[in-house]
């Protein structure tokens, strides 16, 4: 593994499988224990550096780090980014001076984690950068697919929605390609990047044509600002053409699953009865997120203890 996790594309197939296997080990090591804690990263410091609000991702990383006994510092830098206030570099130097072993960064600017990695000695983990990538989301999605369907290789995966602005889509396309799944991205043409033809996936504008052959459907959130950005005429038309409702869900193969990275717009890209159906993995994705992030922290920080043999420690 590299020292940093900046892009899902940086992971080799072996790296990616190692993360998924390690996440499974984490789950097994904690299964049935009353005290969900491993001593692996005791004495190590993980900084959650969030320039954007994201309670769910920050909490997920925080729980993951704490379950590995790391010290966690939440550094909320919202509003201090970009042109106002302290620069990203100064923030990096501050964290460096405090002696952080890993920095988990969420930022509204694509590539901000890459910049940070130039100024920090510890590991940088990209927890979502602008419209670029969100690699741990892709890892937890792959982990969820594997747990539900038993495999990732050979799966037909449809990723549906605002691909243009989606870091989840970019990371998933790269990781799923590495792992041998076949991805089709489905969106109105206005929400696909012009350069999408170079991506290792198929592209469709027609959700109804793609659903019957999909093992996995991943619905992307429609950001509120896009609803009024002129990318599609109305939210209602978007839902009609690209929303997943019960009727459309019925056209999926029997074992197909429905995923969503959250937070959902019920009634826009996903109908409530779909989100709450047995096909939905949305709640599992959250739980799996913790396991996968434990695995990433463990592997990047070079945990020295064999997880499977780890003893419980008092909290």
């Amino acid at each position: 593994m590299n020292r940093h996790l900046l892009s899902a594309g940086d992971l080799s197939r072996d790296d990616a499988l190692l993360v998924l296997d390690t996440a499974a080990d984490m789950d097994a090591a904690l299964a049935g224990r009353s005290i969900k804690k491993l001593p692996t990263l005791r004495g190590r410091t993980v900084v959650n550096l969030f320039f954007e609000d994201s309670t769910r991702t920050r909490t997920s990383f925080e729980v993951a780090a704490k379950r590995l006994s790391a010290d966690v510092i939440n550094f909320s830098a919202k509003g201090s980014s970009v042109s106002k206030g302290e620069s990203l570099k100064d923030t990096a130097l501050t964290l460096e001076a405090m002696g952080s072993d890993a920095v988990v960064v969420r930022h509204s600017a694509s590539g901000a984690p890459h910049r940070l990695a130039n100024w920090i000695r510890g590991s940088v983990i990209n927890a979502g950068d602008g419209t670029h990538e969100h690699p741990t989301q892709a890892l937890l999605d792959a982990y969820t697919m594997r747990r539900r369907t038993g495999r990732v290789e050979g799966l037909q995966v449809a990723i549906v929605g605002d691909v243009l602005h989606s870091r989840v889509a970019r990371s998933n396309v790269l990781l799923l390609y590495t792992l041998g799944a076949e991805v089709t991205i489905v969106a109105p043409p206005t929400l696909l990047p012009v350069g999408v033809t170079a991506w290792p996936c198929a592209v469709s504008y027609d959700l109804d044509a793609v659903l019957p052959k999909s093992d996995v459907v991943m619905m992307l959130r429609v950001q509120h600002e896009r609803m009024h950005g002129g990318f599609f005429p109305t939210t209602r038309e978007y839902s009609r053409r690209y929303g997943l409702d019960a009727e459309r869900m019925a056209t999926l193969p029997d074992d197909a699953i429905v995923m969503h990275p959250g937070p959902m717009n019920r009634g826009v890209e996903i109908a409530a009865e779909v989100a709450d159906s047995v096909r939905s993995t949305i709640v599992e994705q959250v739980a799996n997120g913790v396991s996968v992030r434990m695995a990433v922290l463990y592997l990047l920080l070079g945990g020295l203890i064999d997880v499977s043999g780890a003893d419980e420690v008092a909290a």
């Binding site: 620069s87 990203l88 970019r170 990047p193 350069g195 170079a198």
Partner: protein, 425 residues
């Protein structure tokens, strides 16, 4: 302090070696007495370069560059004249500001500074600045540009093109449709899709180039296009020239050598407007410069303070320095590739830009009677760019660490050496 020189054995425009004699600020027939002798064996002599597009940042951003530091960098790059862009603070949109910049250039003395006047007040694109006052001022402005912004209102552009005919001016258009490039960060294509950076599509440049060719033809004026960066723009300029319309264009050195894949590092040193494009665009730009469709190389030297580049990519300023590397980048991309000979370099870096800017004392043949604006180039030199050694006050060169061909050895401005042995005098 008028100097006398014998430049021994230089090859004018890459031709046969001969001696050049400098006296009284001019090239002369006979070797002057008590002259300094410069051994120019193996060196190419070219007319001093003329840059149509330089940001000297003064007044307003003297932390990034001053007229003094910028023109020293220009001299080191072989330039004897630069056109200082109008997007200073205050904007060069009145006679007072252009005269100030003109005077600062005279005082610095490293190369001639010809201020560019803003087309519109405050570069705001709303109403014409006092173009006539700037033309009539001591700075004798002939090139007008809102560079950094496009004069996007078609009626305003039409009026500007018409108005400058009265004093033989030219509008240098920064061709960028603003609506198609809102928050744009890099070339729109495969790399922007991968990197999640908002795209700057080629069509946003080409639509304005096409429109302004038609406007210039309609009002029988001349138009110049700053930093054309796409294969499509090249085709449009070629088409307009074939029609006999008075259209000229420049290309930057960086668009001749660098491509948008460099942005994958997210290093803002590669952030520039217009953005680095694809290899197909680079090939088309080189071919167009070689066949004369593109008239001139212009640096778009855009110095920025460190803190404006050591940021997230989206937060960083657009622009690259380029004065000291221009000749070497042209040599690397055009001469070493066999696309352009040294006479061609002289034409595209001196003769034609001087003509576009209506500078009658620049870009002249290296013959007796001409002003002694001369640059000596070592065509065999190879050097690795070190940003810390730049004479510019800023360090944002995209060529740092790159090995380039050919190097400026000496520059003479009206007979006075501004650079000798590759060092500022």
């Amino acid at each position: 302090m008028m100097s006398r020189y014998v430049i021994r054995g230089a090859r004018p425009l890459g031709g046969e070696a001969r001696d050049l004699y400098v006296d009284g600020g001019e090239l002369v027939e006979e070797a002057p007495a008590k002259a300094d002798v410069i051994d120019a064996d193996g060196l190419i002599a070219l007319p001093g370069f003329v840059d149509l597009h330089t940001h000297l940042r003064e007044p307003g951003r003297e932390d990034a560059e001053t007229v003094e530091t910028g023109t020293r960098a220009a001299a080191l790059g072989g330039f004897t004249a630069v056109h200082a862009m109008a997007n200073t603070d205050p904007v060069a949109d009145v006679a007072g500001v252009v005269e100030q910049v003109w005077r600062l250039g005279q005082e610095a003395g490293h190369c001639d500074v010809h201020p560019v006047g803003a087309v519109t007040v405050g570069l705001a694109g709303e109403r014409l600045a006092e173009l006539g006052a700037m033309a009539d001022s001591a700075a004798r402005v002939r090139v007008f540009s809102d560079d950094g912004n496009c004069v996007h209102d078609p009626l305003l552009m039409r009026r500007a093109l018409e108005y400058v005919k009265a004093f033989d001016g030219v509008v240098a258009q920064h061709a960028q449709d603003p609506r198609l490039t809102e928050s744009a960060q890099m070339n729109e294509g495969e790399w922007s899709a991968t990197l999640g950076l908002a795209g700057w599509p080629a069509v946003a440049e080409e639509a304005i180039v096409a429109r302004d060719c038609l406007l210039a033809a309609h009002v029988r004026s001349r138009v110049h296009f700053c930093h054309v960066s796409t294969a499509g723009s090249v085709e449009l300029v070629r088409w307009a020239k074939a029609k006999g319309w008075n259209v000229t264009a420049e290309v930057t050195p960086h668009h001749l050598l660098l491509t948008d894949d460099l942005v994958a590092s997210y290093d803002p040193v590669f952030k520039v407007n217009p953005p680095l494009r694809t290899n197909d665009d680079v090939v088309a730009l080189r071919a167009a410069l070689a066949d004369g469709t593109i008239d001139a190389v212009a640096t778009d030297h855009a110095p920025h303070a460190l803190e404006d580049k050591e940021t997230e990519f989206a937060a960083a300023a657009f622009g690259m320095t380029g004065l000291e590397t221009a000749l070497s980048v042209v040599a690397t991309s055009m001469v070493e590739t066999g696309l352009l000979d040294w006479a061609g370099v002289a034409d595209r870096m001196s003769v034609r830009p001087a003509a576009i800017g209506r500078l009658t004392r620049q870009g002249q043949p290296l013959e007796p009677g001409a002003p002694a604006n001369v640059v000596l180039v070592d065509p065999a030199a190879r050097w690795t760019v070190d940003a810390t050694l730049s004479a510019s006050r800023s360090r944002n060169t995209p060529f740092a660490g790159r090995e380039l061909a050919a190097r400026v050895v000496a520059t003479f401005l009206r007979g006075k050496a501004t650079v000798l042995d590759g060092k500022a005098v």
